[in-house]
Amino acid sequence: MAKKNARPHTVLVTGATDGIGLLLARAYARRGHHVLATGRRGIANDEEFFKSPNVTYVMADQSDPRHAAATILAIMQDMGWAQLDLAILNGATAWTGPPYDEPINTIGEQLKVNIAAPIHLTLALAPMLFAAKGRLVMVGSTSVGKAQGQFATYVATKAALDGLCRSLREEWRGRANVMIVHPGPTRTRMHAKAGLNIPILRLFFMSPKKVTRAIQVAIRRGNDGRKMITRFACFMARFSWAGKGQL
């Protein structure tokens, strides 16, 4: 059973220049898959990795959702990908502060990057995902079920993604597997980028490596449309193993 799907898959990871996206892209590349990594910040974090033969990097700024989707689709066609086995829509941005002080630009940017871009990308990728009976994975946040006064717009976008996946999973049943993973607070640079710096709190955040592994396990199983990546899920992920060529 374990070797059933053992072949190089085509994998798209958005927001792959840093954080969980970068770790996911590395993990799938290490297993021998063809990885298309996208982001807007360039490859400075790991130039060596982005130049590996089975990895392609394309700069696609999701704050222009249509352009980002078109760019990604065009590069896939250039590479001759006829189907897409796995799309991980991970790229996101956040702003922290009281909602009544939030600048109009950051409201707009979060809506574009976190929800409009995944929608446009999903539209663009749909035929390729159907061709492969592939998996579409969105990355949410455990904050969707909570009241986070400092992250209101961010939570709104992640709650919207959650709702999108719930309905789309049912619409696409039998054609492609749609799921959303909700990681808890993770020790990545996201919080600092969002303007939140609380060193002590970071001690309680989860390790990005463990979170990445738990996400991979959730994707491989694919039976849960809405997976919370908690500490427990990270722990359980230790006992799941996959060989080369598997997702």
Binding site: I107, A159, A160
Partner: protein, 254 residues
């Protein structure tokens, strides 16, 4: 009470406006279709101010907000305006999705943020976000509509916590199907209008809830039971929604 209602020209917004005017409140009715609002029955016109706003445009929202400067603050605000797009996800054009995000998500977020930020809300005032019962049930056949309504509810939950300091309370309402022209356009063929709640009844229920202390409200017994079911068995609820709606859809409406 001084009340602001977005999307006041039709459907639930219209019913809310008429009910509030009947009760003798001052209403600022904002909509893109101001002509329709002019036809309000004369007996109600006394305290109604009509304002044009195109919620697709941030500039238009900004102009609406500027027109409130120097006026008495609001006691009650209904962020009600919403649009829908029904059909298979991949068959709806991307322009319709941009519009959905602008009107259903950006507009209420920006309005709520600025109404509180510019001190246009009075003491002990309340903002009511109109979400949808799809928040509890899922909505295959209108996936992005459902997404924007979930986003609205998510924002409202966070705003409720953040606005407490400013003495502004937040209520999120999750109405089920309402018997409006909007619902008629988007429902699958053959669905019965008589099963949807009349907007006048819905408006009365929502106004009663707005006077209370609850933070979320599912109007009517049916919606309440549906919400319970949707929370206990989310997968099954969404699957039934697919059977009832998505599988019966013919073409798309946006």
């Amino acid at each position: 009470m001084r009340v602001l209602i977005t999307g006041a020209a039709h459907g639930l917004g219209r019913a809310l406006t008429e009910e509030l005017l009947r009760q003798g409140h001052q209403v600022v009715a904002a909509d893109r279709e101001t002509d329709t609002l002019e036809n309000m029955p004369m007996a109600h016109r006394g305290a109604c101010t009509i304002r044009f706003v195109d919620l697709e445009s941030a500039d238009s929202i900004q102009r609406l907000l500027t027109s409130f400067q120097g006026q008495p603050p609001f006691d009650l605000v209904f962020l009600n305006a919403g649009i829908s797009a029904t059909g298979k996800f991949e068959e709806i054009p991307e322009a319709a999705y941009d519009k959905l995000i602008a009107v259903n998500l950006f507009a209420p977020i920006y309005l709520a943020s600025r109404l509180v930020g510019k001190e246009l809300m009075g003491r002990k005032s309340k903002i009511v976000f109109i979400s949808s019962l799809s928040h509890a049930m899922g909505y295959p056949g209108a996936a992005v509509y459902a997404a924007t309504k979930d986003g609205r509810a998510g924002y409202a939950r966070c705003a409720a916590q953040a606005f407490k300091k400013e003495r502004v309370r937040v209520l999120t309402v999750f109405p089920g199907p309402i018997n409006t022209a909007h619902a008629q356009r988007h429902a699958p063929e053959g669905s019965k209008a008589s099963k949807r709640m009349a907007p006048q009844k819905m408006a009365k229920l929502i106004l009663r809830a707005a006077k209370g202390n609850s933070k979320t409200y599912y109007p009517g017994t049916k919606a309440y039971l549906a919400a319970l079911f949707g929370k206990m068995m989310p997968g099954l609820a969404t699957r039934l929604m697919r059977r009832g709606i998505y599988d019966k859809l013919k073409g798309s409406t946006f």
